[in-house]
């Protein structure tokens, strides 16, 4: 028996066709968004004209006219532009984020492992640390660190003096600044050679261990390559009468110190705040990751005779990394985003310099906000991209 099935949909009102409705909803959304954008743009143009504020990105070439204490590139009020100020702010953001990520990772892993320690007091202290830090706003912690770091330090004239080359006072830690002479490239080359040699040696040592079980003192030899080789070259150069690295030592003046390089208290406070705050979160991430590794793995490794440190390093953490990496990535992004709280304590990061001073001076809110947000978005996307690649490498290989 054959029935012919009609290919046509049953005739209904066009109002009830999901396809038509879908298109309708989307057209409405586009219309609303377009209307909002149109209104915003026309109003903004009108308001800007009335307030006599210029538009366009030309202001980046105007002279800045303000000073920034911590600048990684040459920056002066008279000779630098708003564009330079932007770069200074961006570099400062990246600097504090990079340091923050490194230290927060180290502290976070320590905290996470400590929370799982069988040692009662260690795990309790770690727990109290995490609970306290996580439940207090970062802004408050930064203000506290800033005033706790800054307040007890002496005035410049009473600086704490270590060996006439390190000075600590309320304006920062003043240190000798290394100056590299023309023949310093030898040392850089030695460093590069050391790094490459370390990587090659590690690979070879792993292969040797896998094949024969013989262990090499990998860490000591790596240290020798990376640190020893450049130091050796330095000593050799010095013996031949060359002076590749000299130091610009800070000199005590009447009111302040001159020369050398300075670690500003704002930087220290921001770094301390970011590191301790984020480490609490990373600690929880690490703890969750370690708990996700089944107990059988630990039991098997202790049955093989590994010590508990080896078990952690060689068996548990490599597997826990699979669980840890995605939330760890978002913590890294949080550090970068939270570094914008620098504005509260006056560390010259991107937001403080660009969205603060430059925005106030030029009044060009739209351009400044767009640039700043674009920078943070780019950082977010690039970090996620890099961490995704790493994540794919450590992800479990399903067979």
């Amino acid at each position: 028996m054959q029935t012919t099935v009609s290919q046509e949909a049953p005739k209904g009102s066009i109002l009830y066709d999901p396809k038509v409705r879908g298109i309708f909803y989307q057209v409405v959304l586009v219309a609303i968004v377009a209307f909002i954008i149109y209104e915003a743009v026309t109003n903004a143009a009108e308001n800007l004209q009335r307030a006599k504020i210029a538009s366009g990105f030309g202001f980046l070439n105007n002279t800045a006219g303000f000073d920034i204490n911590q600048a990684l590139i040459n920056f002066s009020a008279a000779g630098s532009t708003y564009g330079d100020a932007f770069i200074v702010g961006l570099l400062n953001t990246l600097l504090v984020s990079a340091f923050g990520i490194v230290f927060a990772t180290i502290l976070g892993f320590i905290v996470g492992i400590a929370r799982l320690s069988k040692n009662w007091i260690v795990s309790k202290v770690a727990m109290v640390y995490v609970e306290t830090i996580r439940n207090i706003p970062l802004l408050l912690q930064l203000l506290f660190w800033y005033h706790a770091v800054l307040a007890p330090l002496p005035q410049p004239r009473d600086s704490i003096n270590v060996g006439n080359s390190f000075f600590l006072n309320a304006r920062g830690l003043f240190m000798p600044k290394p100056l590299f002479a023309g023949d310093a490239w030898v040392i850089w080359v030695a460093l590069a050679v050391g790094v490459v040699a370390t990587i090659l040696f590690r690979r070879w040592a792993w292969k040797q261990q896998a094949a024969t079980g013989k262990l090499y003192p990998i860490n000591w030899i790596s240290l020798g390559f990376v640190v020893g080789l450049p130091v050796l070259m330095w000593i050799l150069l010095a013996l031949f009468g060359a002076n590749p690295i000299s130091f610009d030592v800070p000199v005590k003046g009447t009111f302040n110190l001159r020369g050398g390089m300075t670690v500003y208290p704002e930087f220290v406070a921001l770094l301390l705040g970011l590191v301790t705050y984020t480490a609490a979160f990373i600690g929880e991430v690490v703890r969750a990751g370690i708990l996700a590794v089944s107990k059988g793995q630990t039991e098997a490794s202790s049955a093989l005779g590994l010590t508990s440190a080896q078990n952690l390093r060689l068996v548990v953490i490599p597997q826990a990394m699979r669980v840890i990496i995605p939330p760890l990535t978002s913590q890294y992004l949080n550090i970068t985003k939270n570094s914008s709280l620098a504005v509260a304590i006056g560390y010259p990061d991107l937001v403080q310099v660009f969205m603060g001073t430059v925005l106030n001076q030029t009044g060009q809110a739209i351009e400044v906000v767009v640039i700043t947000m674009a920078v943070y978005l780019t950082i977010s996307l690039v970090t996620s991209f890099v961490m995704n690649i790493y994540n794919r490498r450590v992800a479990i290989v399903e067979r």
């Binding site: 989307q26 069988k118 007091i121 207090i136 005779g305 809110a365 906000v369 978005l377």
Partner: protein
């Protein structure tokens, strides 16, 4: 294939001595031996931790309680040279300023309105969060519709109920902190749900718009969103409309929280088994009926811990409005800290300790609550 295999180095050739039998002793000494001093490295670690606690805890207790000044009317009470003894935390300062910390500059005769608002807020929060409360659907209507309207009339004032107008510039302290947090949660939950549904929609333009919004907001720091709201909102509105100073960061916080809430809700939507969608569709429910009656009640239930966690983050982030010049708790403390009539060395620490205590109580309470709900929700799987 050769049968002679070279003996690898890593195989033990002789057997270890047997371990001693496990120690089954009970009592505090045995407990300490097991949990504090099981081995030499652990003993060293324990001693180091004890030393650090010894260094940190007694001065802290001394500062917060023993040397603390509890009564006084001005800075003389909290300066070591005038008080005649070492001075720790100056709680007299907090006590003196407590009304400023709670109400800001809200007119003294009108402060009962703020107290009523606190009670209304507490009713709404308890109604929604207490899982056994009666008629929680009415509670939701109350919290998301009735309460915002009431708050607006009550706090701002309105002529036709006979309440004087109180400009938002006078609001401050804990009042503003709670307003920012409440606006965040009241707006972010519905918007977040809409965005999450949009992100899982089959309609490409709606999906793309949701994804762009969510990823954009999550990719930038809150402070930039706040500064954007502060500087750009007035530009985008027609010249004759001015937007209230307090309303600007509220818009920013609402948008920001929505994007984070959307991701939490999306997690719940994705955790729903496909059968739930199919079952709803086979009953002939339309999209909104399916979502409102079948999917969302279940999805939202499983993400309550996530929602509470997002809210804890939001609550802490409300302190950022201080940076754009709104007088929330942190800003009132910063302002009082430099009050000359209370200028003493420990005033700053005291103020921060008070604020830290306030935030800690709220956030810790919420995280306990979310843990409790999590345990309750997991009860089904524990059998």
């Amino acid at each position: 294939m050769s049968s002679s295999v070279e003996t690898p180095v890593f195989i033990q050739t002789k057997s270890h001595e047997a371990l001693p039998p496990p120690n089954l002793a009970r009592g505090p000494i045995a407990w300490m031996r097991e949990n504090l001093f099981p081995s030499i490295p652990n003993t060293i670690l324990t001693l180091v931790v004890f030393y650090l606690l010894y260094v940190a805890i007694p001065p802290l207790v001394k500062f917060l309680f023993i040397d603390a000044v509890w009564t006084g009317t001005d800075r003389d009470a909290c300066r070591a040279e005038t008080a005649g003894h070492p001075v720790g935390a100056c709680w007299a300062f907090v006590w003196d300023k407590i009304n400023y910390f709670i109400y800001g500059s809200y007119p003294i005769t009108e402060r009962w309105r703020v107290d009523v608002w606190f009670v209304l807020l507490a009713i709404g929060v308890v109604w929604l969060l207490w899982l056994k409360a009666p008629r929680r659907d009415v509670g939701a209507v109350y919290f998301f519709i009735v309460f915002p309207v009431l708050s607006f009339i009550l706090l701002l004032g309105s002529d036709w109920v006979g309440l004087d107008h109180v400009p938002t510039g006078l609001w401050g302290g804990i009042l503003v902190t709670l307003i920012v947090a409440t606006v965040g949660i009241v707006f972010s939950l519905p918007f977040g749900i809409l965005l999450a549904l949009g992100r899982r929609s089959r309609l490409p333009i709606i999906r793309m718009a949701s994804v762009i919004f969510i990823e954009f907001v999550r990719g930038v720091p809150l402070i930039t969103v706040l500064i954007m709201a502060n500087t750009m909102l007035p530009l985008f509105l027609p010249g004759d409309i001015t937007i209230d100073r307090l309303a600007r960061p509220l818009v920013g916080v609402a948008l920001f929280a929505s994007a984070y809430m959307a991701e939490v809700v999306r997690g719940g939507l994705q955790a729903m088994p496909k059968g739930q969608y199919e079952g709803a569709m086979s009953l002939g429910l339309k999209y909104w009926q399916m979502m409102v009656f079948i999917i969302l009640p279940q999805a939202l239930r499983i993400v309550i811990p996530g929602i509470v966690n997002t809210f804890i983050g939001l609550f802490k982030d409300t302190s950022l409005v201080a940076i754009v010049g709104i007088f929330d708790l942190v800003k009132t403390i910063e302002a009082s800290r430099i009050d000359p009539s209370w200028s003493a060395p420990t005033i700053g620490y005291t103020g921060y300790a008070f604020a830290a205590f306030f935030y800690f109580i709220f956030c810790w309470g919420m995280s306990r609550y979310s843990l409790g709900v999590e345990r309750r929700l997991a009860a089904g799987q524990n059998r």
